[in-house]
Structures are given as structure tokens and as C-alpha cells.
Amino acid sequence: MKSWSLIFMGTPEFAVPILKALIAGPDEVVAVVCQPDRPRGRGRKPSPPPVKIVAQEAGITVYQPEKIRDPAFISQLKAVSPEAIVVAAYGKILPPEILKLPPRGCINVHASLLPKFRGAAPINWAIISGEEKTGVTIMQMDEGMDTGPIILAREIPIEPEETAGSLAKRLSDLGAELILEAIEGLKEGRLHPRPQPKTGVSYAPPLKKEDGLADFSRPAEELDRLIRGFDPWPTVYTFLQGRRLKLFRPRVIEAPSQAPPGTIVAVSEEGITIATGRGLLLIKEVQLEGRKRLPVAEFTRGYHLKPGMRLG
């Protein structure tokens, strides 16, 4: 079977396994496109996105246009004339000029079971909404936001203590497998894109930092999902004696509580137990502003937490 020349467009860690699979696969990745280097980490120094590092190690040309519609960049793409463009979490909507450029079109690896959770944050929203399963969809891109026809999809269960971080890892590995299958299927004419169902559509908009402020009057299970859906970014936080405290690794404890929401009702080796609007919430890991993320057992060695203290 003839091999395809591909351009890969993607930016963050999620895209890395997919790019690696394509490089190792039967087709040739002739160029990689990602977002420009941006300030990252504590030093706020401009640093390359994860995809760029992988591409450079493999000796592949990297484009980082500031503006995707830049005519110079588009003519470069035309010059490369790929068979198809594979897109995974690139971070920008593609204009029609690019969508129409390769003969096989643009193929997207999307981290949800479409048409559920279209948009920028499908992994987070799957957890926040309390889904039992999610998955990866390989889709032929069109002009909408994740509205194109589906080539292939596969589901996986969401585990009880799953975070957005751990789920992203599993989904990007699944995406890596699936993109190779999809391209092979398209080449052999076995797979045909079919339109997305008209029902069950929902959108997963980008998360906002301010949505991470914990509202302990909500039920414990809702807070549990929010904390896991916001981990590692943008994180759920509250305030402990006026200082910002980030919350990680929650578990719901089914027990009634009379204490006002936000009260620490128990402190143990395992974690702190907090009263909520309905039920109790155990938090196993915390991070105080300016400090490291720590298991509660270690945190309490330096910072004395007592039952009866109020958070928020």
C-alpha cells in the first residue's frame, strides 16, 4: 500500500503519543505545526511546546505561525502538499483554506465520544459531568467546531478516582492507536466518514480559573468530580486562614454531617474530611500557595490542621 505524506498539527503533551505513533507508522510525517513558544513554568521563559521537542528530535521541520491565516504560512503548506493533515489539540480552529488544502482532508483526533463534548476541554467536562465512559473519536474536520463526520471511535470507562491528567494520558495513548487504524482503514477504503448524530450534542468550553473556587454548599459528589476534572489545571481551590489552598485527590464519604459546609470535621493520616452541602468530602492531597503539592499526612507536619477549622 502506498504511504501517505502527512502534516501533523498539535501542541501539548496530549498530542505527543499521537505524533510519535505517526512517526513510527507506515506513513511519512513531512512537517509539524504547533503554537509558538510561550512563557511556561516558574521562570516564565519562552519554552517550546512538547510536540516541537519530539519533532525536532526526529528531525522533522517545525512551523510555528503566530497567525494560522498568514498567507506565507499557507503557501508553505501548499508547497509541502501533504496527502492529509492530522490534527490533535492544535489549539486553534482551522480556516477553510487549510481544511481544503490536502486531498484527503484534515483528520482530527478528538478526546470524547462525539457529538458529546465538542470543543476545547472534552476530557475535563467528561469528568465534571459525571460520565461513566468517554473515548476518542477520529473525525474528518469541517468548518465547525468538532462537527465533522466520524471515521472511527472507541470508548473507555472513566475510573472512580480518575483525574483529567490521568484520563488525558489514557486517551492520548488510545488516540495514537486509533489514528493509525483510521488512516489504514481510509487507505483500504474500509472506513467511510459518517455524519455525527443530531442528538446528544454538547459543548465542552474551555475551563476558567475562577470556576475553580470551591463552593462547599454543593453536594460532595459534585465537588469530587470538579476537583478531579480540574486536576492538574486549573485546579479547585479554597482559602485556609486567608491563604489559597488547592485541593486534590478527593473521595466522597457517604455520611450525614451537621457541621456547616466548609468545616473540617476530621483530620487523619489519610486526609482531611470536610463538610459539604450533602455528604462529606475527604481530601488526600493539598497545596498551599507558594508551597509544594503534598499528601495531607505530610502537610500536617508543618501546618497544624484541627477539626472545627473553616475553609473558604
Binding site: 470543543g119 465547525g144 443530531k198 450534542v201 459543548y203 474551555p206
Partner: protein, 446 residues
Amino acid sequence: MFTSARELALRTLVRFERDRPPLDETLTRVLEQAPELSSRDRNLVMELVYGTIRYQASLDWLIDAYSKKPRHRLDKEVLCGLRLGIYQILYTRIPDRAAVNETVSLFKGRPTYITGFVNAILRRLCREKDHLPWPPKERDFALYLAVRYSYPTFLVRRWLNLVGEEEIESLLAAGNEVPPLVIRTNTLRINRDQLALFLKKEAQELNLCRYSPEGLILRRPRGPVTKLTGYRQGWFQVQDEASQLVGHLVAPEPGQKVLDACAGVGGKTTHLAQLMKNQGQIQAFDIDKRRLRRLEENLKRLGISNVEIISQDVTEALRGLGAAIYDRILIDAPCSGTGVIRRHPDIKWRRRPEDIKTMSQKQRGLLETLSPLLKKGGVLVYAVCSLEPEEGEGLIEAFLKGHPEFSPISPPGFPAPGLLDSQGFFRTFPHRQAMDGFFAVALKKT
């Protein structure tokens, strides 16, 4: 157990008085629970409920004049019963004696001071029918209008500013008229002339709409709309002419990608689909799941397949999309609804003066969030069923100041160019065009 039309009417009125639920839905539910009712009685229930709520302020004025007990201390059932009785005496052809007796008998089994009280007030009203104690016109014109035409005073004052003294009474009166049934032919299935032939026998009078090329007006249809010929077959959709014209302002073409930001039950959504010949894609957003279920039913009935239903807040869902992907955007914004009072008289008693400001802020928010999603050369249509300039002309003028890339247009082939003013704004009034009161504008992005 058999329930009489008046009992059902009273029950509905009490429910409305207690927690102000949406009137049309409440009435539908009440009627569903009484399947044994003849169609004549159903019509009577509807007329009594709608009429009593329409004239509530007038009725209350008279109750205040005749009752020694302050109105807020009356038992809710007694208050609603009085309103129902007075409405029949003043505004229907029901003979006075029947109106009084039937109303009093609603309180059978209650203590005699209640039946006596209701009886006395209604009888006195019958006697004094020709010289009722209305407020004098000269002293406070707005109060007089508010009482005689039954509107909240703040609305009367607003509308006096809006249309002036010459037109105010006809505007208020138009809001109290029983509107005709207006439908839109589903041209995916049938053409208007054919449909008119089928429906001719089903209403006392049938006319073509003056402007909308798909519209038909039915007066006194026989039976509920869902029982009319062709309803089940999806030959038409209930929709006022003004609302149909909004669809023609959007003027989408087959194959385009359209955002319908606040779809509701889909009167306009399904019209857009029809104009697109069921080709291309419409994304219909709304947060109200109940309304979306009705939209889904309508899509199925009308045979429309290019609409995607999304039950999310459109501004939340499309937040951060940051790309111009739509050829057409329709923002049929949530509003005060003061243009559709003739269809929903309960709106009069639901609105507070401060609502208009809150609404207009929300409307501005929708415009600001969604306008960047329109492609260059695309058209955004903003519409409200409100007469208030803060939700219409004023809002759009302010928006245009901040957005020079948008300008009003009259889409080629728009069937009612005469209803656009010099600025390109579409404006209708119930008393001028005998349509719902709408504001709309088509803005082209350059």
C-alpha cells in the same frame, strides 16, 4: 368525576394567582387532565381564563370599589371567583343571571358568608353596569388607561412616551384583542395555495398573509390546531407573521452553516431549515429542555433533518471558540415580551419595571459574545418580541457604535421592505400591522 368549564377556569386562575406559572402551559396541562370535556367547553375554559387575566386590572379596580375587605386579604379562590364573575358580566355575551348563578355555585359547600359576599358584589355590579366607578380620564390619564385597558401603569407610561396620546388607546386595545391563528406553510411538503384549499373548510375565515409568502391567517378555526388537517402530516407550523418575516431577514441559503442561539420551540428554526431546503446545517441552542423537546417533535413532524439540537447556554458552550464559522446567526433574544401581550396576557402581570434593564444587559451580552463567530460577509439577525426601545433600536444603535464592521441591510428579496425604517430597522406593532410587536435587524459583517 365531571368538572364544569367554570370550575376548571377557576382552578387555573387560582394556580396562576398563587405562583404565576406560564399561562399557556398551565392551561394545556389543566385541559389534558379533563379529557371528557366537549370542545365547546374547552373553548369556554380558554376564553374565561385568558379573558379574566387580560382584564385583571380592570376587574380588580371594581372589586376594590365594591368590597369592604382589602383585596390582598381576600381568599385567593374568592378573589379569582369574583374576577371570573365580573369578567363574564362585563366582557362576554353570557347573560348576567347565568354569570352570577354559575359563579356563586362554584362556592357551593363553602360558608354562607362567602356565597353571600360573592353574590352581593356580582349583583350590584349587574345593576350598576352602565355607570361603573372608573377613574376619571382627566385627573390621571395614565391611571385611567391602566384601569380601563387593564395594564400595569409603568407600561402605560412607557408606551405613552413611545407612541403618544393619539395612538395609545388603539395600542392598548390591540393588546387585548384575541389574536388570529397564524400559520406558516411548510414548503418542504406543500405549497401555500394547496394548503389554503385544504384548510378552507376548517376555519370561519381564511386569508393569506399580506407580507409573508408562506403565511395563512385563520379566524375561528374549528377545534385545536393539532386537530386541523395537515398538522400531523407536517404541512404547517404555527407562527405569527412578524416572526415569519424575521426568518426572511435571516434569509439563509441551502448549504450554509447557521447558528440559532435561542431556538425555543423552533418556530424560526424550522423556518430557516425550510428556507435552506433542508440542506446545510443549523445548530439550535436553548437551555430549556422542555422547549427543546417540543422543537424535536416539530422537526420530526415537519420532516426537517438538518438541525442539531444542543441543550446548553449558547454563550457558555461557545465560549472561547474564537473563530468565525457561521454564515448566519440568529439571536432571537429572551426579552420582556411586551410585543406579544395579545397572545400571552400573563406577561402584563409578570413584568417589573426593572426587568427591561436586566433583559437589555443580557441581550447586549449575547450580541457581544456571538457576533465574533460570524464569518465576514455573513449576516447576523437580532430579534425581540418587545416594543421597548432599550431592547431594540437603542440597543442596536449602541452596539453599532462599538462595531463599525456591522451595518444594517435589507436582504435582497425581503418580502416586507416597507416595514424597515430609514436605519434598516424592522419594527411592527399589533395596532398598526395587526401582527405581534417585533423589533429585528439584519446586520452584515464586512
